[in-house]
Symmetry: C2
């Protein structure tokens, strides 16, 4: 019997036996106690350990782009056994990323398995439960499927990767679902809306609560120099968006991405999933660069989408906003939703969009109860916009 | 124009502007130059930086389980600008995990986005290209879809998560696919075969090269105290496998997992995917604890599977191996595949399995060109076994 128990111990911990038998016990980090968040790390030889977290107190700082408010790093305190600790008190319920800096080396919290990637940078995340964050937590019971799909893209001349969310119960009946095509921003990729944006959890919760129509959400990769996120495939040679002339007609036609969306992605989705393949069953939305793609894809293909969402974006000064919007007005639409806060660096652009919508008497919904050009804004936008789609 | 360029720079790097404008340039790490692997990390204040990688030279060491050969950590050397570096020469082409220890704090390589989780531990990984590793790299062209599915499990009384791989081209015709049900080991979860096991890449490559039949691969979570991997949901209260009596009949009936596989998972897969819902279209395989589930699920449900794969497992001394295998012999099968190396701690168990198969004159394939009880062994096993399925 003793031998059997040893065998099974061995089998289970074979790959991490040294950590299990040799090392000190795992720390609880993060520890979330009501609104207090404690981060811990074992670093007995360190001189200075700092915590860099979105949940820390905000200060005004000078940046290359002017004065900005941002959470400032704090020093952690060393306690027994070389364990450093910091408790942030009265943290507002929300979704937060953080990293730890040990003697100047930025690293992840080794005791927190909740990890995400923002472009080229990794961080941990945590959720302080409460009203604002409740849709970011896993839904109690019914959760949808997330697919990582490689689809042929003749427009790019290669197979590319996108994420597709199908709601719980999809495929159990003959029901056809509407589809939201949801674009990331510059520097992001097909993973961003699911990881940073909590799109699956938000949709699971909204659908489970009866607040949003069950829908499919398609999250493509909109970066011209990527076939998939950079953790999976190295970027391909050729220009990224960076440095392109935002005033050019080519840029505003959306280039290869809009072509790919219309010629590759939508036909793929409509031939592989049970969807309502009509204007009334299609929504498009995007943030920042994805907002640009949304603006110009809908202007050039006003026959495709009844629901339009522009997040943290609008028209640059050089564009004729009314000329861009008129085809959409003429074709008709069900919802034109704009989400942008006054502290968002894209606010001037959003104002130009809102002004043109007003001047054309185009009905629209403007949501301004959000902050800057950050994922906090975009998660809130998805929560607000999704319930209005397909209704 | 200048303003436009600044705007777009801002939009793209909004979330990481401080890292981009303030910090030093990113390092190339890992750098893989032929068979030489260089790891770099910037840590100007560190006293001692060590590299812990599966590609480092192996030494014999004393462990709580006796003398074992394992790669030993090496010291990295500090060069200019506080950048520490180590080059491992003549590394055998393969898939390797690694971490870096900065003054005793184990951390990920901040310049490598390739990250995986093994149970409770995170590490980076890299692939040195060559004959052994070529199936671990992304397939050139056609890649299958990976689905993260939440399915209802009445046997567990909750929704649980599994991964499902569908090959490239799935869903484009009326073709029905065979299914491999692939189980992880103790301490693992539904993510393990895809991340540590490179299952998608291996299957993509084998199928693209015409070496394996296009098949669906279902990778459930077989841990009784998890509804999903621990990065997504905290383990639920109740016993994990650890500490159960491996000689008990209850254990050998597979407990809730075998019940769930037969009553929940197979019916879900067969009603949601285009599959050959017959014995000839079903394979089951598993490693270590998943090998135990494979042994006892097939013994108790010999009518279900024509293809059986037992990796790094076999019968413990207390079991009547022939009694367990006889129902499978009587029901008939196409393939009984056993993969285990002589240095594997489960080798004695595998020997008992092989001996009983011999004594019963049951045709079987034994693959022994593998090492210990590690993911290296299981990746090789999948490469060897998959081409024999459904043929």
């Amino acid at each position: 019997m003793k031998k059997t128990v040893l065998t099974i111990i061995s089998l289970i911990f074979a790959t991490s036996i040294f950590a299990q038998f040799g090392g000190p016990p795992r720390l609880v980090s993060p520890e979330i106690d009501g609104n207090n968040v404690t981060i811990r790390i074992r670093a007995p030889k360190a001189i200075k350990v700092e915590l860099n977290g979105a949940f820390l107190p905000v200060q005004e700082v000078e940046t290359p782009m002017g004065r900005m408010s941002r959470p400032m790093p704090v020093e952690m305190k060393e306690g027994d056994d070389g364990v450093w600790e910091y408790t942030a008190k009265d943290v507002v319920p929300d979704f937060y990323t953080y990293t730890i800096s040990v003697d100047g080396v930025s690293m992840l919290d080794p005791n927190n398995l909740k990890v995400l990637r923002n472009g080229q940078n990794m961080s941990n995340y945590l959720i302080v439960p409460g009203e604002k964050s409740e849709l970011y937590l896993e839904a109690e019971d019914q959760k949808g499927t997330l697919l990582k799909v490689w689809y042929p893209s003749p427009a790019f001349g290669a197979n590319r990767r996108m994420y597709v969310y199908t709601p719980y119960g999809y495929g159990e009946t003959n029901k056809k679902y509407p589809v939201l095509y949801l674009q990331h921003g510059g520097g992001g990729d097909e993973d961003a809306w699911s990881s940073l944006g909590r799109a699956r959890q938000i949709m699971d919760n909204l659908i489970a609560q009866g607040k949003a129509e069950p829908m499919i959400v398609v999250m493509p990769n909109a970066s011209p120099n990527q076939l998939a996120s950079p953790d999976v495939l190295e970027p391909i040679p050729g220009p990224s968006l960076f440095g392109q002339d935002m005033e050019s007609d080519e840029f505003h036609a959306g280039g290869a991405y809009t072509k790919s969306l219309v010629e590759d992605i939508i036909p793929y989705v409509e031939s592989h999933f049970d969807v309502i393949a009509k204007k009334e069953g299609r929504a498009i939305a995007g943030l920042s660069m994805g907002g640009i793609y949304t603006l110009y894809t809908t202007a050039r293909h006003p026959e495709l989408f009844d629901y339009i969402g522009v997040l943290s974006m609008g028209f640059t000064p050089g564009r004729d906003a009314k000329a861009e919007l008129t085809p959409i007005k003429d074709a008709g639409y069900e919802l034109y939703w704009v989400g942008c806060g006054e502290t968002d660096m894209a606010y001037d652009n959003a104002e130009r969009l809102l002004k043109a919508l007003d001047e054309l008497n185009m009905e629209h919904t403007y949501f301004d109860k959000v902050g800057g050009h950050t994922w906090d804004t975009w998660r809130v936008c998805l929560k607000e916009m999704a319930p209005l789609l397909f209704k």
